[in-house]
């Protein structure tokens, strides 16, 4: 594809020859001649000088590049669109694979692709354009909107409700029983039936092997546009707002409410029954033990305000010296006192 065509399609300003032939896209370190790359993160700006890429997408106003450039308002989104120009997604096979098991009273919208060994339970309703890969299981009475994509080995449990354009990566489990066991005086746990459901709103994406537990009563809800990475755990009765993102291995205990546009980095954990406000950012491995006001940036376990945590972390690098200096001070004060008392007498 000619660089000029790419610039037009992506609505970028072109700095360089329109007739340069681009054969694909690649990361800044890997891109070679004929490939288009990008820099969005200022951390990588120095790499522009040494890139072997055929062309580069840069932010408008960036320093001049030694290779042909496409100038964009948002180089990251523009690169995402450039990938789409070159990527040929696998074509789903239309129809229902003969080995799939579709129970009675299932409604499937037009243009569906149901893979091998898929099992769909009684009373399930799915909208148009679904792509359900092999070995997926949809339990009875699930309702799903249009443009559903479910990758192999993902599961949706009974009665859960899923909006439009939802994507489940492989092994995602939507609606397994919440961890509800009432301790009895004997020490034996009494299992509390998890009678609620999970609701995934429109445009949600759930990562591989991530688990969203059904509520004890009522629902666990993931808001519109929210994206969860792999191996995330969402406890029963949690409610997540819109356009929130959680990186891999995050875990929320039950009944915690997370706002919109929140970002929880990898391995963050939150206790149950908390309110985590809109726009909160938690650094990786944060242990959230208390509710968090909107807009806060937090880190540490238990969580601290980010700047305090950062300062503490730096101070911990000198902690033994610091302890040593207190011991030394103690000694000096002792000596000083002896001297003063001597002088005093």
């Amino acid at each position: 594809m000619r660089l000029g065509t790419i610039a037009e399609t992506l609505r970028c300003e072109l700095k360089g020859p329109a007739d340069l032939e681009i054969t694909g896209v690649a990361g800044i370190d890997e891109a070679g001649p004929g490939q288009l790359t990008f820099v969005a993160n200022p951390k990588y700006a120095p790499k522009v000088k040494t890139t072997r890429a055929g062309a580069i997408i840069l932010k408008k106003g960036a320093a001049e590049a030694p290779v042909p450039a496409l100038l964009a308002d948002d180089p990251y989104v523009t690169f995402a669109r450039a990938i789409e120009l070159f990527y040929r997604p696998p074509t789903p096979t239309p129809g229902i694979h003969p080995t799939a098991s579709i129970a009675h009273r299932v409604q499937l919208g037009e243009n569906h692709s149901i893979g091998a060994n898929v099992a769909i339970g009684a009373g399930v309703r799915i909208g148009r354009n679904c792509v359900i890969h092999p070995n997926v299981t949809i339990y009875p009475f699930v309702e799903i909107g249009d443009d559903f994509q479910a990758h192999s080995n993902s599961v949706v449990r009974e009665h859960c409700r899923i909006g439009n354009r939802v994507v489940l990566q492989n092994g995602a489990v939507i609606g397994a029983d919440g961890f509800g066991f009432a301790p009895q005086p004997s020490g034996i746990y009494y299992k509390i039936i998890q009678s609620g459901i999970v609701v995934l709103e429109d445009d949600v994406e759930i990562g591989a092997n991530t688990c969203i537990d059904r509520a004890t009563v009522g629902e666990t809800r993931i808001g519109k546009g929210t994206k969860l990475d792999n191996l995330v755990q969402i406890g029963h009765g949690c409610r997540i707002g819109e356009n929130t993102a959680m990186a891999a291995q995050v875990g929320l205990a039950g009944s915690t409410h997370v706002g919109s546009r929140v970002f929880l980095a990898g391995q963050v954990g939150a206790a149950g029954h908390l309110e985590i406000g809109d726009g909160v950012i938690a650094i990786a491995q944060t242990g959230i033990a208390r509710s968090v006001e909107p807009g806060k940036i937090i880190s540490g376990s238990p969580e601290l305000e980010f700047n305090l945590w950062k300062k503490n972390s730096m101070l911990m690098q000198k902690f033994p010296e610091f302890v040593q200096s207190v011991k030394q001070l103690k000694k000096e004060v002792e000596e000083l006192r002896a001297k003063v008392e001597k002088t005093g007498t």
Copy 2:
């Protein structure tokens, strides 16, 4: 269902009209007229005043409620039983689905339900009343007791032994190879065959995508009544006692022994070859690096006694000021010494 009937069935004291019609159960925040709710956690006691529920389950002796109440010794267990009154569980389809693959010499007890695409290996024995959902795999020579429930995509590996009334949530993996690799002088790892098994005793429940590794030799054992949440990792050769509970994303390295009635909160990790005594409680994200005496409450990474950890955590909120005050002290002592020496001479 009439409130009076519910009170009788659940053996509660009724404060209010016996003929009030209850249509379902709900959480304290969501319950509306006609719904029954509960308060067990004292944290939620203030919500009793403002609940819109039709009726509420409270602990005997609790302050009077503005709505009809059922008084119970254990409101949580009573609520659990109330859910059962209204919940209609999905009915498993009896028999063996035509797409299931049952190998030779398999023994299935009466009243079984084997779902679509289930694969059961040679020589497997399963007791009465099993419900095995679609896409479950049972490897050869597994032995399973009565009332087994295996949700979709769960797996039981070869030769493992499972007691009565065991529940596997979706994607649980029982008996995958332990992480056993002997480093050789060349740096190349030598795989150690994991020849042991996993034993799940009666009444164990295993969460979604949780992994219990088979032992190198001998067995990994999960004791009677123990409940593991989602995404938990139990290393090869671990032994867990009875009625222990582990929240999501807990990880135990190999050969660690955990006692009975232990509670490990979310994301707790424990090193290998440890003894964690009966009744131990570990707060979320605790990193257990040493063996723990029975009854201890621990937190932090590495673990500290809980009260010490809590104190440290509070002190860390003032850590920079504290460091500052030591610097200040140092200066003052310096000045003081100068003064003293001057005076002394």
Copy 3:
């Protein structure tokens, strides 16, 4: 099997009767008469005196044992080989199970075993001697070498490339979409197509329910001989060197490069775009926030040099007393100053 035969086969020095009959292998605590055990970890040396085992594998030069012994250079590897002498692995059923779905243009090498309900997509190529257990899904256009073992419910996504002698434990997900979403000014995330692949080099083993994400562009690569435990997360675009090992629940964010012969213990997390050098060791739960020089041993969150972290951890056990002593010092200095000033005037 006679102990003398075992000694010969494993090339050990025999201290004891060659004609002793050994019936199996077991751990040091479990081994009884007729069983062979071992001690490699010096921590367990005291157990030699009290073992009930029939015979024991010890390091050459170890103190004499009260039972017949096999002396080896590497008792751990020797025990691994002893297990092999007694272990009968399950025999895979040759051929393709009738319920497996093999798409068109699939090439399977000789001596394959394809289990029930396996789904293999169009254009897949697999080498000789593969064992693919029930309910595995291989997406289209995957290329796999010889001696591949894929356990139930593992998945390999489209276009990924896998070397020889690779093992996937149950539920492993190779090549799910990376977590790539560009935030837009509206707050709505824009999904970045993950057009890259995953490459697993020869002799890699991937644990149960572990996820290796495909790259946005280019590849995520796991080097030769590297072993990943269960529930590990490898973000898109990571590159891992050779003979590296990661314990359960480790998580790497995207584009991080890990060297060869690295060991990351359980629940370690690493931020994205880091360089972690050859031979690095990270203690359990380490939070790696910065790049790490080769050979370093690190711990803590954020990571510290191991010895410093250990010292800090010990000092934290006295932290409240330490804070108290600073307060005391402050008071003493105050008093001293008052005295000095009095004396001075």
